[in-house]
């Protein structure tokens, strides 16, 4: 197990494995995406209250889930970096940040598009919206800090500490924002209570969630491979790869 872990951590090995997996993952992703979209946009029944516009949840909800998931992955990588100084974890952490930020932005943007017809406004200072916005700032902080430090190995350790500090804070921020809203007795229209969802609506949602997950892995593999090449450009295996010496 430890050996496998070690081997996976070696950049050339990861580069090769990730390259082999990419076409397969892309195929599965395409299949799931088409099934999920068909299920969500055509097969799922129309919501009796929200009409057709509820269908945006098939993008919105998976994106929101992924925005949290990616941050947890980053914090996990942060621990690995601090404890084992594993190069691959550094690459995964920093490659994840823009992807996570994109998911967060997508969740905010689709939520806003949905909010206009449903709530009659693009934005409300609801607890969920606010904490998602703060999550976006945390992602941007990680990206900003990494790009501000020239030495990329030091930069990786800096963002590792930041990601860990952030993950301690996310639950605190989330709950304080939630309480802040309830203490103020927010407008009732923003209440987003989960109805007991129809199975025909739920299954496409889960398929979409899975396809987003796979999309994350694909995007992560691609940008990690690029980042690895950039960082290891002076090493032997990259030279061999490009046919040089």
């Amino acid at each position: 197990m430890y050996l496998w872990f070690n081997k996976l951590g070696s950049p050339p090995h990861f580069y090769r494995i990730a390259g082999k997996w990419l076409p397969w993952l892309s195929a599965v992703f395409a299949l799931l995406l088409i099934t999920g979209l068909y299920g969500g946009l055509v097969y799922a029944p129309t919501d009796y209250q929200q009409g057709e516009s509820f269908r945006i949840i098939y993008i919105h909800v998976p994106a929101a889930w992924m925005s949290l998931f990616v941050y947890v992955v980053m914090a996990f990588c942060g621990v690995v970096i601090i404890v084992w100084r594993m190069k691959l974890a550094e690459v995964v952490l920093i490659s994840s940040a823009p992807i996570g930020a994109s998911f967060t932005f997508l969740a905010l943007a689709t939520g806003s598009l949905w909010g206009k017809p449903m709530w009659g406004t693009w934005w409300v200072w609801d607890a969920r919206l606010t904490s998602e916005l703060i999550l976006l700032f945390l992602y941007l902080g990680v990206i900003g800090l990494h790009s501000a430090i020239d030495d990329k190995r030091i930069a990786s350790r800096a963002v590792a500490i930041l990601a860990i500090v952030g993950v301690v804070n996310i639950p605190i921020i989330h709950y304080s924002v939630e309480w802040w809203n309830s203490l103020h007795q927010g407008p009732t229209v923003t209440k987003f209570d989960k109805p007991s969802i129809d199975m025909r609506m739920l299954i496409p949602l889960l398929i979409m969630a899975l396809s987003f997950q796979i999309y994350y892995v694909i995007a992560l593999f691609q940008s990690s491979r690029a980042e690895l090449l950039r960082r290891e450009r002076n090493s032997k295996w990259v030279a061999e790869l490009s046919g040089g010496n």
Binding site: G144, L145, I173, S176
Partner: protein
């Protein structure tokens, strides 16, 4: 190293930092002036309507305190970083988190405490309800150390950068959100005559959490920045 010498090291470092600041009093006054100036801008910008000002006074005072704390953060480690004494601290036999805590304490005494003293005057100028003013002071007393502690992590991460200032605000301000929320809501409840123990307890919880975790994160970040 026995226990006594660690305490002594803590006190020496605290004293040294305070002495350094008092030899250079301009630095002492700057965050406070900034705090007062920001608050002065609000009545000018939104109009001097007494009811409106009294309503938003807790928010204004806290946002101004947040910004003042953030702008003064850089001074926690800046001069020591520039003249190399931070490296000496890292090399010392004492555990770095304790030394970090001493420096953060000194920073709070220099920047947080003046805000606490000035706040009642500003609260009165904004026409805040007198029953809320005591709670305002209490939240500043509990909240500003949290700001210094969290901010120290951010400064330690960005100390080596030439243009660290903007990055620092991006890192630190999202983490300040919980303190702001609970402080403002405590004052608001107090103005309405409601119970504020829940909010005060939460702020105390943040203080103890930050007190127990932040020095370690700061020390790790400093080691990283100095490597």
């Amino acid at each position: 190293m026995n226990r006594l010498s660690l305490t002594q090291a803590f006190i020496f470092l605290l004293r040294r930092d305070l002495t350094l600041v008092f030899r250079n009093r301009g630095e002492l006054a700057n965050p406070l002036l900034f705090f007062i100036l920001v608050i002065t801008l609000f009545p000018l910008a939104i109009g001097a309507i007494p009811e409106l000002l009294a309503r938003i006074a807790p928010g204004i005072i806290w946002v101004a305190a947040l910004l003042a704390a953030m702008l003064s953060l850089d001074s926690i480690f800046r001069s020591d970083f520039d003249d190399g004494s931070l490296e000496q601290l890292l090399l010392s036999a004492h555990p770095m988190p304790v030394l970090v805590l001493a420096k953060v304490c000194a920073h709070w005494l220099v920047t947080g405490l003046p805000l606490l003293i000035m706040a009642p005057v500003l609260a009165e100028m904004l026409g805040m309800a007198s029953e809320a003013q005591g709670i305002l002071l209490l939240t500043i007393l509990i909240g500003t150390p949290v700001l210094s502690l969290i901010g120290a992590i951010g400064v330690a991460l960005t100390i080596g950068l030439r243009k660290g200032g903007i990055i620092l605000s991006l890192l630190v301000l999202p983490l300040y959100v919980p303190v702001l929320i609970f402080a403002a809501s405590a004052i608001e409840n107090a103005a309405l005559g409601l119970d504020v123990s829940a909010q005060i307890n939460m702020l105390l919880a943040f203080l103890f959490l930050a007190l127990s975790l932040s020095p370690w994160a700061t020390a790790a970040a400093l080691k990283m920045s100095m490597s």
